[in-house]
Symmetry: C2
Subunit: 444 residues, 2 copies
Amino acid sequence: MTVPSEHPKESGATGVPRHRVVIVGGGFGGLYAARALRRAPADVTLIDRQNHHLFSPLLYQVATAQLAPGEIAQPLRSLLRNQSNTQVLLGEAVDLDPGTATVRLADGASIPYDSLIVATGTRHSWFGHDDWEPLAPGLKTIDDALAIRRRILLAFERAERETDPDVRKAWMTFVVVGGGPTGVELAGALGEVARDALRHEFRAIDPTMARIFLVEALDRILPTYPADLSRRAAADLASLGATAMTSTRVTAITVDGVDTETGTGPEHLAARTVLWAAGVQVTPFGRAVATALAATTDRAGRIIVGPDLTVPGHPEVTILGDLALTPWQPGRPVPGVAQGAIQGGRYAGGRIVATLDGQTTPPFRFKDLGELATIGRLRAVADFRHFRIRGFPAWVLWLTIHIVWLIGFQNRLLVLVRWAWSFATRGRSNRLITGTPASEEPPS
Amino acid sequence: MTVPSEHPKESGATGVPRHRVVIVGGGFGGLYAARALRRAPADVTLIDRQNHHLFSPLLYQVATAQLAPGEIAQPLRSLLRNQSNTQVLLGEAVDLDPGTATVRLADGASIPYDSLIVATGTRHSWFGHDDWEPLAPGLKTIDDALAIRRRILLAFERAERETDPDVRKAWMTFVVVGGGPTGVELAGALGEVARDALRHEFRAIDPTMARIFLVEALDRILPTYPADLSRRAAADLASLGATAMTSTRVTAITVDGVDTETGTGPEHLAARTVLWAAGVQVTPFGRAVATALAATTDRAGRIIVGPDLTVPGHPEVTILGDLALTPWQPGRPVPGVAQGAIQGGRYAGGRIVATLDGQTTPPFRFKDLGELATIGRLRAVADFRHFRIRGFPAWVLWLTIHIVWLIGFQNRLLVLVRWAWSFATRGRSNRLITGTPASEEPPS
């Protein structure tokens, strides 16, 4: 089916207005929903504030100088170029008017819809301490990753020039807050950067002396994994110079470091680099949608959806990915991982196609594929529910799955080259400090 | 020879202070000078305000979404890691005190030298119109290239959303000022982006309708090449939708476009994207060096050096690359190209080694390897002085030479993959818009 692009709002022959699907968000949920609509007799509009789809599971590798940004991100236009019923709009959705069935963009434009799919995901939450955000940046976008990469690399540069031993030590101390998969992978990769990639490159400091602390409020890291895998992950981290501090809450973050509270009392970690991998809240547009539809949310703002992924009372509005609280097992919603968003996107697109065809669709069923996290070279933990693996076999599986799911053949090839290279040399190639000239950064 | 890194200022055994070589600038000149000093009984310090060496001849390919930044840049530390007599400092040199023989950095540090090599190159000059710089950015650093890439890609995004046909046309009009190699390669690559890479990706606009103007004040583009190659380059550009406007001077640049003056009268080019590839001036540190040493300069600030590349009256200070005006042929200095800087760097390093050994060095002799510029896929022009080639053979030569000279085996491999991919698909893979969220850019 081809639709002349000059008349996107009607099918030329009959003059009957075509069904308009608006998708907000080009992450896993939005992209897979758009793809599922590729043959639909509908006009699809995908709106995102970035021009690219991001393979977010590998974002920590950009932040730690392993991969280049372009290797895990692809222009949405390019991914959907052959889908003639679909238009990509670069724009930021800010509000929803269910009365006129329109999405309002930041530039004032109104985009009308018959079906709306919202998949704008979540961002970090600093637990009400918004002043912590500039001191402890989170990792959600390419720009976040480049800013973190810049901080990490500059910290070693500062240490090399620093003469005060205490300040030097603080430049070589890194705190990662949040012991979920992102925090664990970030801490492990940081350990490898310090111990392998930067080794022999400095004259005044020894990068292998860098200390990394992974702070987690619960009593173990990777709390959604079985306990033995949590233990294994902590041991793997320790072998990379990263210390898991569990049952530890962050009480303050300053330019000098982190104050924590453990069972035994307060502790101060003097560190010039603090990274945030904790807390979740929905995007402002997600919140606006919930308000406009008077939808029920949890404390993080996630919208509770029905078995067909739509908002109760609003069958025309679908919520996908980690913006949605999707029923799954008793007392346990679908986890906010890529697989949940991908499966939801395919379901939502397929449901619209079926509805246009006068058919009904059975409820969404999440197929749990398990969880998988890597901790540096040769090490990973995987929980496939019926069995669990760790160490080298888990690591090979991790590599394979990520290459297979990565979008774009060229990117697969380039990432394979990067990984093979790093594996052979223990080096990191993407160590550019970009932004303002690196030397002009204020010294603290 | 290994030097214990803890005692970089003396050779442990004898206690005699070692000769201190300070190199400012990690471009071609500085890097090749440092490498030539790798076995010197000296302490070498390389200072740069960026943490990476940049393969600048391919910078225009980053600006036009062909290559990723990391593929043409490598950390200086990494390139010099095995050179134990050499320390890399991330810092910005701001002034020189010949009395105490020290270089002062922006952070206040003073770095003493026995031999000083200055290779900080040039940046663009806006002919006294500094207000043009934000409107017509130049292309000297990775950050410049990413800013230009962002502008180019956003221009098409704006055009897609624009309803006023005149404004839309202005968003799809690109002006490149300066018809030297950078301007020609940039204009050609822009033509390919519009005609090939973005084709079929937009619904409201046709990117192949983009117009590109290359404005040159002299009567032909590539003025340092033989006239027939200039004509060939102009014809190649025309086939990519880029128009060479020669004998045309820029008189004003505004957000709306460019005012020009030709032989026949003034003309206004309505364009929202203007790129600057004209004019040259030395860096502020280069100017400070000239002042401190009372050196003779040309109008752009280039320092006139003697046959051994040192400043007359200051045999301890060498100037390299396009910061130097190096005697060559009568009335013609060594051109400010990569080969000049590389050969100068090797000579300067070798001369210091010889001097420390009590030997003298014959004057510098520049070996002219010719000039080479590419204009899109399959097309290039090359002038090897004794013979000249163009078209497909020149293009193959261009590819080979750039791959051979590119630093780092992994980068060669990755760039080959990128080029092969683009050649096969006519696509461009590095089309991320990064910086602030792309949609939040002010609309004009």
